[in-house]
């Protein structure tokens, strides 16, 4: 510190740091920059690359960015598996979410009252959402096992099935039903917990006022409670839709898209085309069909957020 030059430089840099640290805007952008860079580099950049791949020749082994125009898309449209997958994407997601909304409402209402052991019940209810999807799906695979299925045992016990008969839960007829069932199982907990939070946020006065006015349970539920929790119901549904539209894990574990490509959705078809078969371009093109769906969901979500005046 005896060197006057170093001392001035140190004072200078301290002053510089002071200025920076006291200017909230500049400090703010400095604190934010790493996150913005990371998110840009690891979300926006790959998204752009995905668009690029979908119109070029690139494969796992060959980096050939020569322009192919809309060839991939033409090939996809001629592939019957794509149309099945597109249809399944909607069946799995919308089918599951309709059931989840209804069941979630019923369960959330039942959970509103306090009872002993609620903590444990909530833990059990949350389990499907919290456990890794691949492991939960593996549990279902064992439940659906063609030889040892516990569901078939139960069906035989109540004489839905004869002693030697069995359901092929993951076969061509029931495969889609089973996958939808697992989607319901997986997304119901989140919807329920969100709805419980929504119901809990309604002030008691409102219930009391409706009760005073002589409204019965159904009127109170459909004309008072439900309108008040609509925004939150929307949020729960939109997240459920995102999860089930884009999920490939359940299909990967349970059926790998089989038998005969009947159970693929867009996400799993993109995986098997892009990674297992190595055609990055066509895989990317398939996965991009999810993008319009997600844009619509994002817009809806913003509208909900804005209407409930939180932004």
């Amino acid at each position: 510190m005896s060197d006057p030059k170093t001392a001035t430089a140190a004072a200078e840099s301290a002053r510089g740091r002071k200025r920076l640290a006291d200017n909230p805007g500049r400090l703010g952008w400095l604190l934010l920059a790493p996150t913005l860079l990371y998110v840009f580099g690891l979300v926006a950049l790959p998204l752009g690359l995905s668009l690029l791949y979908s119109v070029t020749n690139v494969t796992v082994s060959r980096l050939d960015y020569s322009f192919r125009g809309l060839d991939h898309f033409r090939a996809i449209f001629q592939n019957p598996a794509f149309w099945v997958a597109l249809k399944n994407t909607f069946i799995y997601a919308i089918g599951a979410q309709v059931i989840v909304i209804i069941m979630g409402n019923v369960l959330a209402l039942a959970l509103m009252k306090n009872f002993r052991g609620k903590w444990f019940v909530r833990l059990l209810i949350l389990f499907p959402f919290v456990a890794p999807v691949s492991l939960g799906a593996l549990g279902w695979m064992w439940i659906f096992d063609p030889t040892y299925s516990v569901l078939n045992y139960m069906a035989r016990a109540v004489h839905i099935l004869g002693p030697m008969e069995r359901f092929y839960w993951l076969g061509p007829e029931l495969g889609r039903f089973s996958i939808t069932l697992v989607n319901v199982w997986r997304t119901l907990p989140l919807a329920t917990i969100i709805l419980v939070a929504g119901l809990g946020s309604i002030p008691q006065d409102i219930h009391d006022a409706a009760l005073m006015d002589g409204a019965n349970f159904w009127r109170r539920h459909f004309q008072v409670t439900l309108p008040m929790i609509t925004p939150i119901l929307m949020v729960a549904t939109l997240f459920g839709l995102v999860f089930s539209f884009t999920d490939m894990v359940v299909i990967f574990i349970l059926t790998k898209g089989g038998p005969f490509n009947t159970t693929h959705n867009l996400a799993s078809l993109a995986y098997f085309t892009g990674v297992e078969a190595g055609d990055l371009g066509e895989g990317a093109a398939i996965s991009l069909f999810l993008l319009p769906l997600l844009v619509v969901i994002a817009i809806l979500m913003l509208r909900v957020a804005r209407r409930s005046e939180v932004i």
């Binding site: 909230p24 996150t35 998110v39 909530r122 833990l123 999807v133 492991l135 939070a197 990674v275 993008l291």
Partner: protein, 288 residues
């Protein structure tokens, strides 16, 4: 007499209501929790008991056994998968906290009204699913020479943990009164010092929430892990169990289910404690 009848009527109605409530909760819990009951009972059954097609599979017929657990730890790489998951999780959580905590503070306090919309923009990237990004990533990872390495996961996982945790932290910092920092700055701290020495210490519960959710997201992730890593010893638990605990045509269901239970129970319990804050983050503040 009449009053007593009225009283009885209300009482009966009350019982019917709580009976109905009990029935609904019981039925739904049975549906949601059944796979886990099934995993637990499978874990402790002897193989002969599992393969007996005529016996009621919902209960034990032979003595419970620890054989399946023993096979899981000695016959598969399960211990290594747990360790790999913890290793990736630890690094990803560190990166996430270092990025998301300052970013959340900046969005909540420092950059003014832009912060709100930018925060929503960052949150929305959480909606861009791995399903769209994994194909370009597989190429990028290969170009970086990271294929079949856990470092690929360390690099990629923050792309979904950071947006979510930034959003959580932004909400958390907004709930802290601004007077605290202003008082600290009157005492001679600058902004940065006020943030590091006053705001961060009182935000430990918010940071802990971010840590837990980032870690949970890492444990659950499957698509990137199955795309980038192919060697059994380098897998994380969510990929290792479904891929390598299955040998040929013989399904080691007992040890498979044991792996599922061991990997899910701890995180479920911790999650349950923090779930309310998680919901608050998820609902974009649609609850006031």
């Amino acid at each position: 007499m009449e009053r007593r009848a009225m009283h009885l009527k209300y009482r009966l109605r009350g019982w019917a209501a709580s009976g109905g409530q009990f029935g609904i909760v019981a039925a739904f819990t049975a549906f949601l929790a059944f796979p886990f009951y099934w995993m637990v009972i499978t874990t402790f059954k002897q193989t002969g008991d599992l393969m007996d097609k005529n016996a009621n599979p919902l209960i034990f017929h032979d003595w419970p056994t620890l054989e399946q657990l023993r096979y899981l730890f000695q016959g598969t790489e399960f211990g290594l998968w747990l360790w790999n998951t913890a290793w990736v999780g630890g690094l990803v959580v560190t990166i996430t906290v270092l990025l998301a905590v300052p970013a959340g503070y900046s969005l909540a306090r420092l950059i003014g009204p832009t912060g709100g919309s930018l925060g929503i923009g960052i949150f929305l990237t959480y909606l861009v699913p791995p399903t769209i990004l994994f194909i370009p990533f597989s190429r990028i990872i290969a170009d970086l020479g990271l294929q079949n390495s856990l470092w690929s996961l360390v690099l990629v996982y923050p792309s979904f943990t950071v947006p979510f945790c930034t959003w959580l932290m932004m909400g958390f910092f907004k709930s802290i009164p601004a007077d605290l920092e202003e008082a600290a700055m009157l005492d001679g701290y600058d902004r940065l010092q006020a943030f590091l020495r006053v705001v961060v210490p009182i935000s430990m519960s918010g940071i802990l929430t971010s840590v837990i959710f980032a870690f949970a997201l890492v444990i659950q992730e499957f698509l990137y892990a199955v795309t980038f890593v192919s060697t059994a010893t380098r897998m994380t638990v969510s990929v290792g169990v479904p891929t390598y605990a299955i040998r040929g045509d013989v399904y080691y269901w007992g040890s498979l289910m044991a792996g599922c239970i061991i990997a899910s129970v701890p995180i479920a319990i911790v999650y349950n404690i923090f779930v309310d804050r998680f919901v608050a983050g998820f609902t974009v503040g649609a609850i006031k």
